[in-house]
């Protein structure tokens, strides 16, 4: 809906105080859209994809050619500029989609899961470019399932579950919503319900989550008593496979806010 591809059945989308549906053409000039799927024009080359996009947006030819060259260089695509995009790798296609969305110099760039399926190198390159764009004044609207991305990149994060905003704040603000900010991760040889029932009652434990055989205990206060926790594990006759103390993450905030914790088991 925000990218003007679907009309809202209720509510309103305002851009600069004006409904996007009152001035669809104007709104579309101000936004750039990078969908998750590859919707590049596979019959054209990389350069033609950018040039035609510029012309669909009514940009003058000279300016289009200049910004095409500039974006191809900036996103490391110039060596393949005149190749058909049908043979591009996932990372190259993703970069070209971003370059295309930026051709008409939008104020807001929508990136839908831009790093899904990318190798670490391409992912780092994209992150750097996203940061640079944002520093130069482009608002980035990023959707992702990887919580480290908003943690590193975002000023403001909305956690959405089943179409509903469960939390909206800075990454630090959202992490503060987690009951205990110090998290003890215990990897055990086996986890069962009676063990968990006992764990939640341990002194200082505010909440817990479980993933496979790892229990994450959210601890109240500044320095959790690791010794007491380790002693309890031994008393229960379980083997400790791994132990880790860290601050709560955006992932924890997500699980806390969407309620995908203990009650889902």
């Amino acid at each position: 809906m925000l990218t003007t591809q679907a009309r809202p059945t209720t509510g309103e989308i305002l851009l600069g105080g004006r409904s996007v549906w009152d001035d669809l053409a104007g709104a579309r000039r101000r936004i750039g859209v990078v969908p998750q799927h590859n919707n590049l024009d596979r019959s054209l080359t990389a350069r033609e994809n950018l040039l035609f996009h510029a012309r669909y947006f009514g940009l003058p030819l000279g300016e289009s050619a200049r910004s095409t060259d500039e974006w191809l260089q900036r996103l490391h695509l110039h060596a393949r500029a005149d190749d058909p995009v049908a043979g591009f790798s996932g990372g190259m296609a993703q970069r070209l989609k971003i370059a295309r969305a930026l051709m008409h110099d939008p104020e807001i760039l929508f990136l839908d899961e831009p790093t899904t399926g990318l190798d670490p190198q391409s992912r780092t390159l994209l992150w750097e470019e996203i940061k640079r764009l944002n520093q130069n004044g482009t608002t980035i609207f990023l959707t992702t399932h990887y919580m480290e991305e908003p943690d590193q990149l975002a000023d403001r994060v909305a956690i959405i579950n089943h179409g509903e905003i469960k939390g909206l704040d800075t990454p630090a603000g959202l992490k503060k919503l987690v009951p205990g900010q110090n998290v003890v991760s215990l990897e055990l040889d086996e986890v069962n319900d009676s063990l968990l029932a006992e764990a939640i009652a341990l002194p200082g434990v505010a909440d817990l989550t479980v993933e496979m055989n790892t229990v994450r205990l959210f601890m109240r206060g500044a320095s959790p008593d690791l010794g007491a926790i380790v002693a309890w594990v031994h008393r229960r006759g379980r083997t400790l496979v791994g132990l880790n103390l860290q601050l709560s993450t955006l992932n924890d905030a997500f699980i806390h806010l969407t309620g995908r914790g203990l009650e889902d088991r």
Binding site: T3, T4, Q5, A6, R7, L24, A25, G26, R28, R29, V33, P35, H37, N39, L40, D41, R42, S43, L44, E48, N49, F52, H53, R55, Y56, F57, G58, R100
Partner: protein
């Protein structure tokens, strides 16, 4: 307006790049029909010598129709259903209706190009047996214009109806019945002894195009009066284009 021309140009670039594929797709079906019905059958005495003249207008009309509807319809089905390449154009400030109009222009151009490719082939294979009298040639311009638009609007309509998985079924389920009842191998007035068939085929827009082609190319073949075939072409084009564009916009903005 510049967005519209860019969209037309994009499709022309792609057609030019794939020209031999395009030519093969456009020429093969008419070529087989022309060879079998316009050359083999008359030469072995299975049909009269006048048969090539009877089918000439029909086979050209069919070539124009199939070239345009294929050029618009199949890419749209694949675009909306699989590749989604069209999204960049649909998100342009000009809006989805502009994309639909650009697609129709391409359909008209490809329809004409289809006819232009088949015409010399038909002439080369059946020329000796053809009796062509171009006395209504003044009507060629409106007939060609309307034929192109009919083909493009049918392509637009089909492109918004069929799903990619249904493309294989389109050939036996839609294209062949449309072509054979076009009527490619008989003239519409000759159906008067099968009145219900004569009435039924009037839903087929190709009937009007074929009859109009017969009227301007082979007037001695009994044909629907040119006024009626032009009217039928115009009305079916308007209906198909209107429905096609509405469906197209609905698919572009949900």
């Amino acid at each position: 307006m510049s967005a519209f021309f860019a969209m037309v140009q994009r499709d022309l670039v792609v057609t030019k790049r794939n020209f031999w594929n395009f030519a093969y797709r456009v020429a093969m079906l008419p070529l087989v029909f022309i060879f079998v019905f316009g050359f083999v059958l008359p030469n072995i005495g299975q049909v009269p010598d006048t048969f090539p003249t009877l089918m000439f207008g029909g086979v050209l009309a069919m070539s124009v129709m199939v070239a345009g509807l294929h050029g618009v319809g199949i890419p749209l089905i694949l675009d909306f259903g699989v590749s989604r390449e069209i999204e960049d154009r649909l998100l342009a400030p000009a809006g989805p209706a502009t994309v639909a109009y650009a697609k129709m222009v391409i359909g008209v151009l490809e329809a004409w190009l289809g006819g232009l490719i088949v015409l010399p082939l038909a002439w080369a294979i059946m020329g000796a047996d053809l009796t062509v009298r171009l006395e209504n040639l003044a009507y060629a311009v409106p007939v060609l214009l309307l034929a192109g638009l009919t083909s493009a609007s049918l392509g637009l309509l089909l492109g918004t109806i069929f799903k990619p998985s249904q493309i294989p079924a389109m050939f036996p389920g839609f294209l062949i019945p449309m072509v054979l009842l076009g009527p490619t191998f008989f003239a519409w007035p000759s159906l008067e002894n099968l009145r219900w068939v004569q009435m039924l085929v009037l839903v087929n827009p190709l009937v009007y195009v074929s009859e109009a082609f017969r009227a301007i190319l082979t007037p001695e073949v009994p044909h629907m009066a040119l006024g009626y075939s032009l009217l039928g072409t115009a009305v079916s084009t308007m209906v198909m284009a209107w429905v096609g564009i509405r469906r197209f916009i609905r698919m572009a903005i949900q």
